[in-house]
């Protein structure tokens, strides 16, 4: 029988990546005497080696074996935990990651770095002259086993043999599979029935085995009990007549069949190439805790109960049953809500999936920049949607890099400024309202506001005459092509960073905020929606249409007071909102649809904010706030300017979800066009007058 295990390769790969991550993070904090960490690292390496061996990824097994041996010596205290070796292990983790990625992506896994690292590992192992135990991959030694021979075996077990779960009868059965067995039990030691203890063995055996296998294979049957018995195996004269009989290869096969040490089936050994085709690149799977699935099943059960209750009510409905009906519907609402939350939880992963890579990153960067940096991570158990998680990794890496490279000052500067020479970067994640907030704090030099402004002027992003408040100045660093680093380093500062960071965060429906105090440090706050599939929205009515404004963008809703309206040139109307002047965008104008109310005074205004720009959206009516399921317009229709998606409301009608940043650009473009049109027509009139 051959059993195909290749279906387990994807889960092995996934697990290996997790193991490597764990190895990496533990190595970074590894101290002498930290037994828990070193054991955890060892176990991770050990699992990878075991799995790789099973699937025949021998290069991984060999490499991991070196790593494991080194770790084992550290674990046993034969070797001190010193920085150079920890560094070597970190490099080894990279190599392993490369090897496992190569398996996943079916790419060649040859790399000089790996051979080099393997050599270094070997060298490190030899340094203390500790002999590297080579994996005991028993070779199959069946060449001299063609001939039948008879073996005489005497087996005298210790009385307590059965207490380790071994049973002589089963051993004899195993021998019987190797050939023909006859045996004789010696009952001399057997006590009388009264003195008989069922838990001890009193018998000894003499067996004769006629078989084609060699001594090693017979010994292997007794492998587990060899310390608990007296065993002698002697070969009788081989039978030449039978020897001839088995010379045909077919018979030989048949005889070898019951051997315990069968050749590993080719399906298992060769399958990697075949089966990884399925698992190419990232697998779209999520590992979900059993508790989450259980709660889901539980909820579905409740839903079914509610459903049957309602359908029974509906069979012959009378008004007297109205209370029960409303109760039932109430319950259905509750069930649906819980079910939704439960399903959403399945997609949620702790943010540690992203945060895990930062200790290594900061470690490497601080080496490169010769700065000492401690990384503090808080709230790594905060859960976030898997899709959001996958896409937020790179922007965060960029922010952390910037914090080390630009934020934290050099040791000398820090000391000169009376700070501790070790800089601190704090990563934190937490829930706030319907959002996940990720903070990246550093206690470095902070952002030089004047330098940012000067640079922006130099790049032509702003005019010297512009007066910008603090946050507006800091927002300039997100402008495309902006970089304040005086020299470009290979870590960050290519000037392509921050605008991409902002764009990525925005495409996830999030936003980023900067705060900084010179000399004290900076803080970047990233606000992300919990999930992309469901959105908290404010339903608004314009004419006969219902639109949805994402709640995250809404600042406030108010009724327009006539005296606060400012008309400027063109159609642009500004509304005085405390110290801000907020442009009013009537939705009916923007989308060119009929509206119930076109009068500005007493109109309803929803003030929204995007890209640091506040605008007031004029609507006819505010309806409910509710969660809506986002359906892509791209997939179902096509991209429409100012609309980010659609949803289906409770009454079955389709409502559009407004793309607030898109609407702002639309409105601004329109206003500019209008202005230039006006100018053009004014000029025309002037020229006509002149003529």
């Amino acid at each position: 029988m051959s059993i195909d295990l290749s279906q387990f390769i994807p889960s092995f790969l996934e697990e290996s990546f997790e193991g490597l991550e764990l190895m990496e993070s533990s190595l970074l904090t590894l101290q002498q005497g930290d037994d828990d960490s070193i054991n955890a690292i060892f176990r991770a390496a050990h699992s990878i080696k075991g799995g790789a061996g099973t699937f025949g990824f021998n290069h991984v097994t060999e490499f991991t074996h070196l790593v494991e041996t080194l770790l084992d010596e550290m674990r046993n205290g034969q070797r001190n935990i010193v920085q150079p070796e920890v560094e070597l292990l970190l490099v080894s983790v990279d190599c392993l990651r490369f090897l496992i990625k190569a398996i996943r992506d079916e790419e060649p896994c040859e790399n000089s770095k790996i051979a080099e690292t393997a050599k270094l590992l070997e060298f490190a192992l030899q340094k203390q002259e500790i002999e590297a135990a080579v994996t005991t991959n028993h070779e199959i030694t069946s060449d001299n086993s063609q001939a039948f021979s008879t073996w005489l075996i005497t087996f005298i077990p210790e009385p307590h043999l059965v207490q380790t779960g071994n049973d002589p009868l089963l051993l004899f059965n195993a021998l019987a599979e190797l050939g023909e067995v006859s045996l004789e039990a010696d009952c001399k030691e057997l006590p009388s029935l009264l003195g008989l203890d069922a838990e001890t063995l009193h018998l000894t055996w003499t067996l004769s085995l006629k078989t084609s296998v060699n001594e090693d294979e017979i010994k292997e049957v007794f492998e587990w009990v060899e310390d608990e018995c007296q065993l002698s195996i002697t070969q009788q004269k081989s039978d030449s007549a039978e020897n001839k009989l088995v010379s045909s290869p077919l018979v030989e096969e048949a005889v070898k069949a019951p051997q315990i040490k069968a050749v590993p089936s080719p399906v298992v050994v060769n399958s990697p190439e075949k089966s990884t085709q399925k698992s190419k690149s990232e697998t779209g799977s999520i590992r979900v805790g059993v508790d989450k699935v259980d709660s889901l099943i539980n909820l579905v059960g409740e839903l079914v109960i509610t459903q049957s209750m309602l359908s029974e009510l509906g069979n012959d409905f009378e008004m007297s049953k109205l209370t029960r009906l409303t109760n039932g519907l109430e319950q259905l609402l509750q069930n649906t809500k819980e079910l939704q939350e439960s399903v959403m939880r399945i997609r949620m992963l702790p943010i540690s999936f992203v945060f895990n890579r930062f200790p290594r990153l900061v470690h490497d960067l601080s080496k490169k920049t010769d700065k000492e940096v401690t990384l503090v991570i808080n709230g790594e158990q905060t859960e976030l949607d898997k899709t959001v998680m996958e896409q937020i990794g790179d922007p965060l890496v960029h922010l952390v890099r910037n914090a080390v490279d630009h934020g934290i000052e050099s040791k000398e500067t820090r000391i000169a400024n009376g700070k501790s020479e070790v800089g601190t970067i704090t990563l934190a994640a937490y829930h706030q309202g319907g959002n996940v907030v990720i903070e990246i704090n550093d206690d470095g030099g902070g952002i030089d506001r004047q330098a940012v402004f000067d640079k922006a002027v130099e790049k032509g992003l702003v005019d010297t005459s512009n007066t910008l408040n603090e946050s507006q100045v800091f927002d300039l660093i997100f402008e495309p092509g902006f970089s304040t680093a005086k020299e470009l380093s290979d870590i960050s500062g290519r000037g392509v960073g921050m605008d991409v960071v902002k764009k990525n965060i925005q495409s996830l429906g999030g936003r980023i905020q900067v705060q900084s105090e010179q000399g004290k440090g900076s803080q970047f706050k990233v606000y992300l929606p919990l999930t992309l599939a469901i959105l908290d929205g404010q339903l608004v009515k314009v004419g006969r249409e219902v639109y949805i404004i994402p709640l995250i963008t809404i600042v406030e809703s108010l009724q327009v007071k006539e005296q606060l309206i400012n008309r400027v040139s063109g159609d642009m109307v500004l509304y005085r909102l405390r110290e801000d002047n907020v442009p009013i965008i009537p939705i009916y104008q923007l989308f060119d649809i009929p509206a119930d109310n076109k009068e500005l005074s007493n109109a309803l205004l929803v003030v929204v904010e995007a890209d640091g720009q506040k605008v007031g959206l004029m609507v006819d009516d505010l309806l409910a706030q509710q969660q809506v399921v986002v359906k892509s317009l791209n997939d179902n229709y096509q991209q429409v300017e100012g609309i980010s998606g659609a949803t289906i409301l409770g009454d079955g009608s389709v409502a559009m979800i407004l793309d607030v940043p898109g609407m702002i650009t639309m409105a601004l473009k329109r206003a500019q066009r209008q202005q230039s049109n006006e100018k053009a027509s004014k000029k025309k009139i002037e020229t006509e007058v002149l003529a």
Binding site: I3, L5, T136, L170
Partner: protein, 120 residues
Amino acid sequence: MSKILVVDDSNSIRDMVSFTLKSAGYETVEAKDGQDGLAKAKTNNFDLVISDVNMPIMDGIALCGELRKLAPFKFTPILMLTTESSTDMKMRGKSAGATGWLVKPFNPEKLLATIKRVIR
């Protein structure tokens, strides 16, 4: 049909062992570490226990020792599934009451052939 407890902290190894055993018609119960395994052993009867050695919380050797203290497991075969083929590890397993060991890399055919030697 024989019921087997499979204890391993690695999901993929545990899945593979379990899959192999199931495909040979055995019933399996899985546990993710020694403590989990012990808890499951207290509420179920097993004909065989296959356990990894290196595990968090409670390792395979300790599990073996604990199982032998339970009356229903006094004679139950317990196999250690491990890459550690060193004599030291074998001795430790034996003294804790292990029946035998299976050396990784694990091969499904060999696993099935081997457990026939201990399962009643």
